[in-house]
Amino acid sequence: MKDGRSVSVRSAQNSKFEELEERISGVIAAAEPDSFDELALDVFRFQREFNPPYDQYCRLLGVGESPAGWREMPALFQAAFKHASLRVFPEEEEIAAFRTSGTTGEGYGVHHFCSLRLYEEAILRGWDLLGAPRLPQIILVPSPSAAPHSSLSHMMGTLKARARGGTQHWCINTDGTLELDGLRGVLEEFRTAGQPVLLLGTALAFLHWFEALKGESVALSRGSLAFETGGYKGSGRTLSKEALYEMFHQRLGLAAHDVINEYGMTELSSQCYARGLGLPHVAPPWMRAIVVNPATGREVADGETGVLRIYDLANLGSVFAIQTRDLAIRRGGDFELLGRDPGALPRGCSRAADEMLSASS
């Protein structure tokens, strides 16, 4: 009896998942926000039903199963992924798991997947909405085979579908350092052929590369672009976006408009993009990014600073609403990213949690 019931629940769970996946896939493909509100409620209810840790959290907050709108759906802090398996499916159905970097010393969080359909569709459709041309890709992160638990590596691998001729060059050694000779060679090859390229990497990888150039510059064919993501967390480095983009200009001859910043994280399935300097990040139509006052949990007024909260329909298998610690300024429906603790006043001599953990990790 018990086994029979379990199978029938599983079957209902699977069919609900598939039905929602199909509907969200439709929203991603059409890139229209029309059914966001309705879908958000259905996803919320589904996750309440099949994601017990999230459901328990909502209960502790006294939130019912039919909140007035998606803004009222409790958002889980990213750190929750370090403490519980946040998934709507049984462990044996997992097909992929991406890990956070664990740079704060608390161990890493895991984002579990039973299907990568929405994840990959969101990557490709989000990229298409940027309107970037198809170019050969030079990648400064480890390949998916070298880093199977890195969501960023998986994303880069998925973007092969948007590479000209499917051409991707991975320029990272097995020890994680840049393969500088290979990078130089392949860039020279494309430059000689007059072929523009797309360079993709973390801000830290680009910074290391630029420093390794020791003042030299690298010529790229006109029309080349760069994609940079992530901050300098755990590296002990800090650099303003303006300073980094100046380095893109000095070392690679790329104007700020030729550099695309991605805002994403392991705990999400979709990305926000900003092109150049002075423009806000834009969420794709199947995602909402709002800026909230951390003391009240309410959305701040336009132009005010708060913390970023993300509602991502593509996070169907885990948690739809994610609370980040990233600071941002609300710009209408978009946001200007400030990142973690910029300009935070230096503390007194007491060593705060983040600082201490990063020192001991």
Partner: protein, 364 residues
């Protein structure tokens, strides 16, 4: 100015800053000099110290680098430099520290002229200083240590953590003291507790501590927070709630409708740092606290104990605390305290010896 005259001038200026510096008197300052240098007049000329005639020579110029946003470090360091008779260049955080400026203004002219406050470090200051004292993160200390010249005395004070330990307290009489320690200066100082370890009924103790935190808040409200610090409190509270939901042994008490104070009971004894601004953990005091305190070991400053008895002081000191005090007195170290386990005046002076009148032949 003699040491006694300087001590008098500093003590007068300290009068209006008792809330920050604690009680101060000229005789207390002279006793401090005596305890570290052997004689209250040894900075003024040769004195018989330990069978020798010695004259302690203060650094001509001390550069104080203060990177935190609390005034304590700057004030204490300045007082040390002034008492020694040095000229003091004090680099304050970018936003300045009004309390330090007010303190300098309260000094008599002869001492005031020995202080220069600045929010930047002039290049010449690094070269002209005979001693450099740095308060800040390990990274800040390391950066200035690398810049110091071989002839310069360098004292670095990195960030520290402190905590409380309640060994015996059946009626929770120590809770008001713990709440005061956790609330003063909004927990920003290196002497502020991150956690109170409680031997008996720690969860009940946490509930009582919450009541006392609210009392302190009513009398002495916490400062307004910026977005970043408010976000840190929001995260620790929500993560506690989340973990309670998945069955972790935690309890949460929080100020109603505000983020003024937070008490978290965590049955896990392993130390974790607070996000500060009146967020205090209560944990069970384990038999073997060495393992529990491992994450804090490198940074440990003060352990406040209750009751304040020798047997418990010995246990706390054995855990690596350089200072043990009574709960409720964490923010009131005496002037003579050994900061980070070291004297504060003696490392700055150099010595001149005179093998003449008063010298003991036995010393030779």
């Amino acid at each position: 100015m003699t040491t006694a005259e300087r001590a008098q001038g500093i003590a007068e200026a300290c009068r209006d800053f008792e809330h920050l510096l604690g009680p101060a008197s000229a005789e207390g300052f002279l006793e401090w000099v005596r305890s570290e240098l052997g004689h209250a007049g040894v900075l003024d000329g040769f004195q018989a110290v330990g069978g020798q005639m010695l004259h302690a020579v203060a650094p001509g110029v001390i550069l104080h680098i203060v990177s935190g946003n609390t005034p304590h470090a700057a004030l204490q360091s300045l007082v040390r430099g002034l008492l020694l008779g040095s000229h003091n260049l004090c680099k304050l955080p970018g936003a300045g520290l009004p309390e330090v400026e007010a303190f300098v203004a309260a000094l008599p002219e002869a001492l005031r002229s020995r202080v220069e406050l600045s929010t930047s470090v002039p290049e010449t200051a690094l070269e002209s200083a005979d001693a450099i004292i740095v308060f800040g993160s390990d990274e800040t200390v390391a950066r200035f240590r690398a810049l110091a010249l071989p002839r310069q005395t360098f004292l670095g004070y990195g960030h520290r953590v402190s905590l409380g330990m309640v060994f015996e307290d059946p009626a929770f009489e120590s809770a008001p003291a713990a709440a005061l320690d956790a609330s003063l200066f909004d927990q920003q100082g290196c002497l502020s507790p991150h956690c109170i370890y409680v031997a008996d009924r720690p969860e009940e103790y946490a509930a009582r501590l919450a009541v006392e935190m609210e009392r302190v808040q009513a009398a002495n409200p916490r400062s307004k927070l910026g977005v970043s610090n408010a976000a840190a409190i929001s995260e620790i509270r929500e993560m506690t709630r989340f973990r309670m939901g998945i069955g972790d042994a935690l309890q949460l008490w929080e100020s109603a409708g505000s983020d003024a104070w937070t008490v978290i009971f965590d049955a896990e004894p392993r130390f974790s740092a607070s996000v500060l601004n009146r967020v205090i953990f209560v944990r069970p005091l384990p038999e073997d606290a060495v393992a529990a305190l491992e994450p804090a070991r490198r940074f440990l400053s003060t352990i406040a104990i209750w009751p304040n008895r020798r047997e418990f002081a010995e246990r706390a000191a054995a855990l690596g605390a350089s200072r043990v005090c009574a709960l409720g007195r964490m923010q009131e170290p005496p002037w003579t305290w050994r900061q980070d386990g070291r004297q504060t005046l003696a490392p700055l002076v150099s010595w001149r010896g005179w093998e003449g009148e008063g010298t003991s032949a036995d010393c030779l």
